[in-house]
């Protein structure tokens, strides 16, 4: 399959229950699919790092037989490398073993080489060499609350990592445990969940223990964060000191996804699901909802999406790119993947009949990087 020699193209990495697929497109509408890579291993996390003049795809891979590990590719999947001693391995003395890599998050352009990872058991890791070697964050690992953190249905994980432009404020969300904030670059952590409900606990408003599904930062407003909770959609304007509900106007306050615009203040996307007895898009009709006013109102977006659709979209099976206008992407547990080149106004199908989609990440890349045919 060839690709037009346009100045820029797009790559969409799709991590599924049974491997990784890579989709490329000149326009975010017509896609070519290659794969699978890592067939029969799940790929729950992906990071596309476009800093340092290269495009590095980092993937957290997990084999049921052979365990989890991190691979990276600097040639868009032509070849894959695994550091000899493993990128993420629990050090001696922790008496712990890596279960799954839930999040791979390249840091800001101002901190090239820095990549964060969120893992199971609940842990945060930091790399300074582009994701080839990670160091365990001891501040969170040794936190006195650890014994009281629980597991969501999919496992106990630190799944969201948000780093502010200075690198000093870091917010992590975990299921279950809630949101934790560091003001010193990760050296120390405190829970910050005031206003986030945990209806399934004896105290529905505990200091920590919430099942926060995903958090994301507003790209333009300092201190503003959004959270999709296990029931509840929230916004904080004070670096998680307090959270207020922004679920009014949504057909359901449950979901896994929280995306924010790469540049514009007040714009976020969620994908509501009905829960808990059911776990499907409301009325079996899949839609993305976007706010442009920080959650005061929401707009339903479903052009190009199937009806009916009973499969859910998992927390990292959705992403945005940094192009203009911003692209929005997501994949379902039914193995369908959709892309929008206009912030969700219209979607087109990228792929179908894939295994459960666990993670998607997209980026604009130079067309010269794309292989002519694989």
């Amino acid at each position: 399959m060839g690709v037009m020699a346009t100045a820029e193209s797009y790559v969409l990495a799709i991590g599924t229950k049974k491997g990784l697929w890579l989709a490329t497109s000149p326009d975010r509408k017509d896609w070519s699919l290659s794969g699978p890579h890592f067939l029969m291993s799940e790929v729950p996390s992906i990071g596309i790092d476009t800093r340092d003049g290269r495009t590095r795809i980092l993937v957290g891979v997990r084999s049921e037989h052979w365990g989890p590990t991190v691979f990276h590719s600097d040639d868009l999947g032509g070849t894959w490398s695994e550091p000899e001693n493993g990128a993420i391995t629990f050090p001696d003395g922790t008496d712990a073993a890596l279960e799954r890599i839930w999040q791979i998050h390249p840091d800001a352009d101002s901190r090239p080489g820095v990549v964060w990872a969120g893992c199971e058991p609940i842990s945060v890791w930091k790399s300074t060499d582009g994701g080839e070697h990670f160091e365990l964050n001891r501040g969170l690992w040794d936190h006195p609350h650890r014994s009281e953190w629980g597991a969501g249905y999919g496992g106990a994980a630190a799944h969201s990592i948000v780093v502010d432009p200075t690198g000093e404020k870091v917010h992590v969300a975990m299921s279950t445990g809630g949101v934790y904030r560091s003001l010193d670059g990760g050296a120390s952590w405190e829970p910050r969940n005031k206003g986030i409900s945990a209806y399934f606990m004896p105290d529905p408003n505990p200091e920590f223990g919430q099942c926060v599904h995903k958090i994301a930062a507003d790209a333009a407003v300092d201190g503003r964060l959004y959270a999709q909770n296990h029931h509840g959609v929230y916004r904080s304007d004070d670096n998680a000191e307090s959270w207020e509900s922004i679920a009014d106007g949504l057909p359901a306050d449950f979901g896994f996804v929280m995306l924010t615009h790469p540049r514009r203040a007040g714009t976020a996307w969620v994908i509501p699901l009905k829960a808990d007895g059911e776990r499907i898009p409301p009325d079996g009709k899949l839609a993305v909802h976007r706010t442009d006013d920080a959650g005061t109102s929401w707009k339903r977006l479903d052009a190009g999406l199937p009806d009916p659709e009973y499969n859910v979209v998992l927390r990292d099976a959705a992403c945005v790119d940094e192009a203009e206008p911003a692209g929005v992407y997501f994949g379902t547990r039914g193995g369908s993947v959709y892309a929008s080149a206009d912030e969700g106004e219209h979607f087109s199908e990228v792929a179908s009949h894939l295994p459960d989609v666990l993670c998607v990440r997209a980026a604009a890349v130079s067309a010269a990087l794309l292989p002519a045919q694989r």
Partner: protein, 104 residues
């Protein structure tokens, strides 16, 4: 284990790898360790995977525990039914590594 003296070839212990792991052992299907006396499975794995850290990680996690769906057979018996990693292996024996049949 051999004090620098040559070890008879027939006393070496062989570890037979499944095909999926052979690329991590330089393409070898069998790894061997010299042994003049009985050794533990743990020692055996440490010895044969010493040059292949990625292979080692596939078999055991950071705590040294054999991964749940990795089976290690000594004399036809899976080590979990024997003494686990301290199960002894006699010189000249073969140890089989076979992954569980699983999937969906």
């Amino acid at each position: 284990m051999n004090n620098g003296m040559p070890v008879p070839a027939d006393s070496a212990i062989s570890v037979i790898l499944p095909s999926v792991l052979q690329p991590l052992a330089g393409g070898q299907s069998i790894l061997t360790a010299p042994a003049e006396e009985a050794v533990t499975v743990e020692w055996l794995l440490d010895t044969v995977t010493g040059e292949y850290p990625a292979l080692s990680r596939r078999l055991r996690d950071e705590t040294g525990t054999v991964r749940r769906y990795v089976n290690i057979y000594v004399n036809g018996n899976e080590i979990r039914r024997l003494q686990g990693l301290v199960t002894t292996v006699a010189p000249g024996q073969e140890v089989l590594i076979i992954q569980s049949v699983a999937g969906g």
